[in-house]
Amino acid sequence: MLKLNGLKKTFGANTAVAHASVHLNQGEILCLLGPSGCGKTTLLRLIAGLEHPDSGTIIYDDQDVTPIPPHKRGFGMMFQDYALFPHKDLFDNIAFGLEMRGDPLASIKQRVQEMLTLVELEGFGSREIDHLSGGEQQRVALARALAPGPELLLLDEPLGALDRALRERLMIDLRTILKRVGVTAVYVTHDQTEALAIGDQVAVMNNGRIEQIAPPQEIFAYPKSPFVARFLGFHNIIDGIVLDTGQIKTAVGTFSLNQSQAQTAGPLTLLIKPTGTRFSKTALDQAVLVNILHIGFYGRYFQITIEVPPLDHNDHAISLIFETVTANYQQGDQLYMSVNPDQLHVF
């Protein structure tokens, strides 16, 4: 349905998007996730037609839309900070796209009412934009973008301006509405929770490149690179060495992995999932002695920061962060720690 082939966009010496290729099916939501400046917003604006790519094509419904100006593409867009027209009331904002299309007044009225019902703002039609709360503005922006019935909806950090509690509630509302309408959507965010909760596909971008694109569960279980892992909120990324025996030697022990990918001898990088360890005051099999640097209580779990001696004695000590349900030890203790090999992920 939406196909991006080798899109590239530079601003002067700065490459914003480098060879981005994406395939998105009808009705799916793609989340573009990445730090600020990674090119995710530029990629969205390329799809919208608000920027023109240096090279590459945008195919929608087997039609090359690359040369078509934004107002003729028929895509909807929800802007960061919403870009609601301050000189128009709520009704006229939502009606704008319908007026541009030249719809008769009666059908505009009906459609705006439908939209107001959809976003649960019935009876708000004559409100001024200034008098709406942040969450209400967000819903008006969504209604305005959806009113002309676009086949593809582009959303640029639509929840970015809201506080955390409101964001988590609206996140679910937003996905529910998008799914009910059945619109294909591209959703830009820098918040991994949002991306995982809303997307059918999640693409992590770094320096203008798409590092990995996969369904949320898959990308969370098997991040392809340390960058993707870090951006999804993982901390414990350590170096290891593949021995001649096929085992992997790390600062937290030596493991045999039953992962399908055979590792050739040499250095590699792995990820320890935050729940993948056991602590004990007595020596365990395959355990290393660690120092507890800090214990933090997070309500449902404890976060334990520990320090292990490095593999290479010239390096700094490695600090790792784990989550445990109980923690009957304290800062400064020395403990034995064993890592569950199932919770290791090799990049």
Binding site: F11, A83, H87, F96, R144, P148
Partner: protein
Amino acid sequence: MTPFLRKLYPYRHWAFLLPLLFFGLFYFYPLGAILQLGLAPDGRLQLSHILDFLSDGYFLSILWFTFWQAVVSTLLTVGLALPGAYIFARYQFWGKATMKAIMTLPFVLPTVVVANAFTALLGPRGLLNEAAQTWLGFSSAPITLERTIWMILLAHVFYNYSVALRMISGYWQNLNPDLVEAAQMLGASPWRAFWKVNWPLLRPAIFAATVLVFTFSFTSFGVVLILGGPGFSTLEVEIYRQAVNLFDLPIAAALSLLQILFTFVLMWFYTRSQAGLTRPLRLKSARATVRPIKTLFDRIMVGGNLGLMFILLASPLLALVSRSFLTDNRLTFQFYRQLTVNERGSIFFVPPGWAVFNSVAIALVTMVIAVGLGLISVYLIATDTAARTQHQNHRLWRIRGWLDPLFMLPIATSAVTLGFGYIIALNKPPLNLRQSLILVPIAHALVAIPFVIRAVLPALRRIDPKLREAATLLGADAPQVWRQIDWPLMRRAVLVGAVFAFTISMGEFGATVFIARPNMPTMPVAIFRFLGQPGELNYGQALAMSSLLMLVCAIGFIAIERFRLGDEGEF
């Protein structure tokens, strides 16, 4: 702070009376005198003479001319400035900041210089005509725009273009470009997106610029007097002629009154539209809204507008300077040298070099008065500062609501009216200042104070009251808070205001021509005198003096741009 000032500090509220007293004595009192002279010279209403004049066809034709030339000037100015405002609001290009500084020069140039610049370019002895005669073989000057309406319109556009451009682009550059993009995503073509979104949002700024430019054109004096010649007369010029040439003071007073009424109505519209500009629009910082020049359309837009600005703004000024160094197409410094020579050995003759000294001295005094009173005024006006909560119950505080528009009145009042008011009001006891040297700086300060206020007020309002509270909790007493917080944060804005006051004083003509003593001419008055005398030499000296005045204003204005932090000041 010295112990003496510290002792005075508890009585500081009395300082608020100073600007009020100043406005009372030097604005309302002279205006009241005009009113009285015009309507009831002997204490009884005498309207027959005035009514005769006002119902005369001559007067109606002046009123009609004043009105329609202002309308045409305004439409031309705003129409030409609109695309210029767009490129300054939306594009980044090389030399933009410098260009903005230079472009603003015409606004602070005295009308006498502007008029001269146009004569130097397009007049019968102007650069273009001489070039056409020398190189293209025309037997007489082919461009005969002098003393036509076109000269006046051109000069008005020249004079007000940068005001309109600054006001509109200053607002436009903070409009969120997402709004237009949102409209495009909803199916609006770029053209429709402009009309449906940008146009309604820009309308208050465009309206404010239109009213201001209309006010300036409606009260135009120097441009019409010098470029138009005897064939053209605005209300303002007619006031001058009636008072100075025909000595019919009641008529002059009646016309002044009429003009004040007109401009008050205009200013009412202006302040109302200004209020519209403060509506919360989620403005964006200008840096986030500009884009580089990329497409052919971008190049045509930017190139076209810069070209227009060069022809419109730069070419007359360049003509003025180059013409002041030319006689019979040969380079000469004669005009500049002659400025110091008393040609006819007259004892009444004041060497024009003295005019430079007079102007600078008057401008410095003006600056001190305007900045001092302006600073007191901004504290009187500022409503959203810590000072407000502190003094809320003070009796003076209740009138602050209408102080801001009150202090803006001199901008709307014609300088000629003011000068005329001084002549009739301040020449007899209790206030006999007619012969006093201080009268000219006082008049100039009155014109300059609104500009000082506009420059400093935003800076004062931007100071977070929490800063003062923090300083107080750290042990600073009130004078120390002012010294450590207010002053450092306002300093640049005050400097901008000071330079504004200085340049305004340097260029002020309308009031000065009334009240300056004959033996103490300022530069604009000296230029006007040169123009009133025949001969190549006098004309050349007028150009030389204009070039010098322009140089002083240019230095002042480039200094303003250097001090300006971000978009300090509202003009």
